[in-house]
C-alpha cells in the first residue's frame, strides 16, 4: 500500500443549480486505503459533492480524478472502480439477499465462480445464512445497511462512497458496521464516508467539514480538536456549523 497514492483528487469542484451554489470550489485529496470522513450540516452540499465524485452528477466547473480517471470524460471507467451506497436504501426489496448479491455481482462483471465465493463469504460474515433466501424488504434496517455496504464492496472497488450509511441505525449495529468499514480499509479499499455522528468522525483517519457548500477544514480529528482548542469533535462541528447561513 503506497501511502501517498492519491485515489481522489478534487480541484475547485463546483456544482450550481441555477443561482444556488451547492458545492463551491472544493479542493482536497484522499490517499489510498484512507478512511475519509466528509462532514457537514444538512444542506451543506455533501451529497451533491459525493454524487459528482461518483459520476452521477456532472460538475459545473472544476476538475477531479477518481482512481486516476477524469470525472468528465471517463465516468464509466470511474464507475468500474468505485462502490456507492446511497442515503436511501437501494437494493431491490422484492429480491432475496442471494438474488441481490448475484445481480450486482453480475452487473459488475464478476464470474459465476466469483459470485459464488463472494456470496458465501458475505453471507457467513454477516451471519445471514438462515435469512439468505428471504426478501431483502423483510430485513431490519441495521441488516439492510450492512448488506448494502457488503454489496457496494462486492467487486473490490478502489474506493467506496458511503452517504450517511448509519442513519437511523442502533449503536451496536453501528459499531458492527464500522468493523466492516475497517476490514474493507485493511483490504486497501479507500473509504469516503459522510456522517452526522461525531463518534464516527473520530474513527476516520482524516475528516473534512463542509459549511455552506465550501470545504471549511480538513485534517485529522486530533489536529482539528487541537486547533479549535476543544475536547470533542462535537464542539468542533458545533463551532463551524453555527457560522452557517443555510438552514434546513
Amino acid at each position: 500500500m503506497a501511502a501517498d497514492e492519491k485515489v481522489i483528487v478534487a480541484d475547485k469542484l463546483t456544482k450550481r443549480f441555477g443561482d444556488f451554489i451547492a458545492t463551491n470550489e472544493i479542493t482536497f485529496e484522499v490517499s489510498k486505503g484512507e478512511i475519509f470522513g466528509f462532514l457537514g450540516a444538512n444542506g451543506a452540499g455533501k451529497t451533491t459533492a459525493m454524487r459528482m465524485l461518483c459520476g452521477l452528477s456532472a460538475p459545473t466547473s472544476g476538475n477531479a480524478q477518481i482512481a486516476g480517471y477524469d470525472i468528465y470524460s471517463q465516468t464509466e471507467l470511474i464507475k468500474k472502480n468505485i462502490g456507492y451506497m446511497s442515503q436511501k436504501f437501494s437494493l431491490y426489496e422484492n429480491l432475496t439477499i442471494l438474488e441481490n448479491i448475484e445481480f450486482f455481482g453480475g452487473i459488475y462483471g464478476l464470474t459465476d465462480q466469483q459470485i459464488k465465493v463472494k456470496t458465501e463469504e458475505l453471507v457467513n460474515r454477516l451471519g445471514l445464512k438462515s435469512e439468505a433466501k428471504k426478501l431483502v424488504g423483510s430485513l431490519p434496517l441495521g441488516w439492510k445497511q450492512k448488506l448494502s455496504f457488503s454489496v457496494a464492496v462486492l467487486h473490490e472497488p478502489k474506493i467506496v462512497f458511503l452517504d450517511e450509511p448509519t442513519g437511523g441505525v442502533d449503536p451496536v449495529t453501528r459499531r458492527q458496521f464500522w468493523d466492516l468499514i475497517y476490514e474493507a480499509a485493511d483490504r486497501g479499499i479507500t473509504i469516503f464516508v459522510t456522517t452526522h455522528y461525531m463518534d464516527e468522525a473520530e474513527y476516520c483517519n482524516r475528516i473534512s467539514i463542509m459549511v455552506d457548500g465550501r470545504l471549511e477544514v480538513l485534517d485529522t480529528p486530533a489536529n482539528l480538536k487541537r486547533s479549535f482548542g476543544v475536547g470533542t469533535m462535537d464542539e468542533v462541528f458545533y463551532q463551524l456549523a453555527r457560522s452557517a447561513k443555510r438552514g434546513d
Binding site: G55, L56, S57, S86
Partner: protein, 372 residues
C-alpha cells in the same frame, strides 16, 4: 451480453414475484376478450319508442305492430298527444317519437300519399341515427306492402329500378365480433406493454434503486434492452393467450399465416415498449408516467380505427393516424386474421412500425441519463 443475462434474470424474478402483475397478464385477456365483445356491440337495439297515434285505424295499428315486431324497438308509451310523448323524450325515457296523423289510413288509400312524423332524440347520436334509419326502412317496407295490396302492379315497372345487393366479403354475416375481437386484442397488448414498460423505470427512480444501477458501469443500451425484453416476452404471451381465446370462443382463427402475424407483432411491440420506455425516461414519478401514457393511449385508440373508420376522418386526423402505431396494428390484425393478407400486403405497415421502433428506442437510450 453477460450483463444482460443478469438484468433479465432480475426483471423476470421481480415480475413473477408480483402476484398482481401475473394475475393481470392472465385475467386481462380473458376478461377483455370474453366479456367485452358481448357488450361492446355496434348494433343498436332497445331503442325506446313513443308512439302518438291520432288515426287509431287498422293500418296505423298494423304499422305499429310491424315496428315493434322488428325487435329493435321497445314501446315506451302510447301517447295521446305529441306533447305527452315529448315529455318522455325530455325525461330520457324515449329516444324516438313516431307520430301518425289523423286520416292516415284514409289518405293513404284515397290519395295514395301520407306523411308520418318521426322525432329523434339526438343526444345519443349513434342510437338516434340508427334508430331513425331502422324506423325509416321499416316504414318503407310497410309502404311497399301496402302498394302491393292496393295497386295492381303494372306489367312492367314504369321506372327502372336498381336493386343493390351487397355481398360482405371476409365477414359474410356482418358479425361484429369478428370485426372487433382482433381490434380488442390489438389494444390489449398495446395497453399492457405500454403501461408496464412506462411504469417500470420510473418505479426504479421512485424507490431509488436506479441510483445504484447508475453508479455501475452498465451500458445504457444494455439497461434499456434489459427493460425491453421482459415486457416483449410478456406481451407475446398475452397475445398468444388472446389468439387462443379468440379461436375457442369466437371461432376466429387467422386466415393468413401466423408467421406474418407474429413477425408484425414482434416489431410492433418494440414500438409500443420503446414508447413506454421513452415516457419513463422523461418522468420522475409513476403518477406522471401514468398520466402521460393515458393521454397518448386515448389518442392512439380513438384515432386507431377500432371504433370509428379512419377513412371518414378529416384530412388532418388522417395524417395524424400515420404516426399512430395502433392504427397499423389494428389494420394488420384485421388484414391477416380476417382477410388472410400475406407478408407483401403488410410490408408498408411493417416498415412504418419498424421506423417508429428504431426512433423511439433510440430516443429512449439517448434520453436515459446515467449522469445528470
Amino acid at each position: 451480453m453477460r450483463t444482460l443475462k443478469f438484468l433479465l434474470r432480475k426483471e423476470f424474478r421481480q415480475i413473477f414475484r408480483d402476484k398482481s402483475i401475473v394475475a393481470l397478464i392472465f385475467f386481462m385477456p380473458c376478461i377483455q376478450l370474453i366479456v367485452m365483445p358481448l357488450a361492446a356491440d355496434y348494433e343498436v337495439r332497445n331503442v325506446n319508442l313513443a308512439v302518438v297515434d291520432h288515426d287509431k285505424s287498422p293500418y296505423s295499428q298494423k304499422l305499429i305492430s310491424k315496428v315493434i315486431a322488428s325487435g329493435y324497438f321497445k314501446l315506451q308509451g302510447y301517447n295521446a298527444s305529441f306533447k305527452e310523448a315529448l315529455s318522455l323524450i325530455e325525461s330520457d325515457q324515449a329516444d324516438l317519437i313516431l307520430e301518425i296523423p289523423q286520416g292516415f289510413e284514409r289518405n293513404l288509400i284515397r290519395e295514395d300519399k301520407q306523411k308520418l312524423f318521426v322525432a329523434v332524440n339526438a343526444i345519443n347520436g349513434t342510437k338516434a341515427n340508427l334508430g331513425g334509419s331502422y324506423l325509416n326502412s321499416i316504414i318503407g317496407a310497410f309502404n311497399a306492402d301496402i302498394r302491393m295490396q292496393l295497386i295492381q302492379q303494372p306489367r312492367f315497372s314504369q321506372f327502372p329500378v336498381i336493386d343493390i345487393v351487397p355481398s360482405n366479403w371476409f365477414n359474410p354475416v356482418l358479425n361484429y365480433k369478428i370485426y372487433i375481437v382482433p381490434g380488442i386484442l390489438a389494444i390489449l397488448v398495446t395497453m399492457v406493454g405500454g403501461f408496464l414498460s412506462a411504469l417500470n423505470i420510473v418505479k426504479e427512480k421512485e424507490i431509488g434503486t436506479i441510483e445504484q444501477i447508475n453508479v455501475t458501469p452498465i451500458k445504457k443500451h444494455i439497461f434499456i434492452l434489459g427493460k425491453l425484453i421482459p415486457f416483449w416476452v410478456l406481451a407475446f404471451i398475452i397475445f398468444t393467450i388472446g389468439l387462443i381465446l379468440a379461436r375457442v370462443f369466437y371461432g376466429i382463427a387467422p386466415i393468413g399465416s401466423l408467421f406474418v402475424l407474429y413477425l408484425f407483432i414482434a416489431v410492433y411491440l418494440l414500438t409500443v415498449l420503446g414508447f413506454g420506455l421513452l415516457v419513463s425516461t422523461f418522468c420522475d414519478t409513476q403518477q406522471q408516467a401514468m398520466f402521460i401514457m393515458f393521454f397518448f393511449m386515448m389518442v392512439f385508440i380513438l384515432l386507431g380505427g377500432l371504433f370509428t373508420s379512419i377513412d371518414s376522418m378529416p384530412e388532418w386526423a388522417k395524417l395524424v393516424t400515420r404516426l399512430n402505431p395502433v392504427r397499423y396494428m389494428i389494420e394488420v390484425m384485421r388484414m391477416v386474421i380476417l382477410k388472410g393478407s400475406g407478408l407483401r400486403d403488410v410490408l408498408p405497415h411493417l416498415a412504418a412500425v419498424a421506423i417508429m421502433a428504431v426512433v423511439l428506442n433510440g430516443w429512449a437510450i439517448l434520453n436515459y441519463k446515467k449522469t445528470n
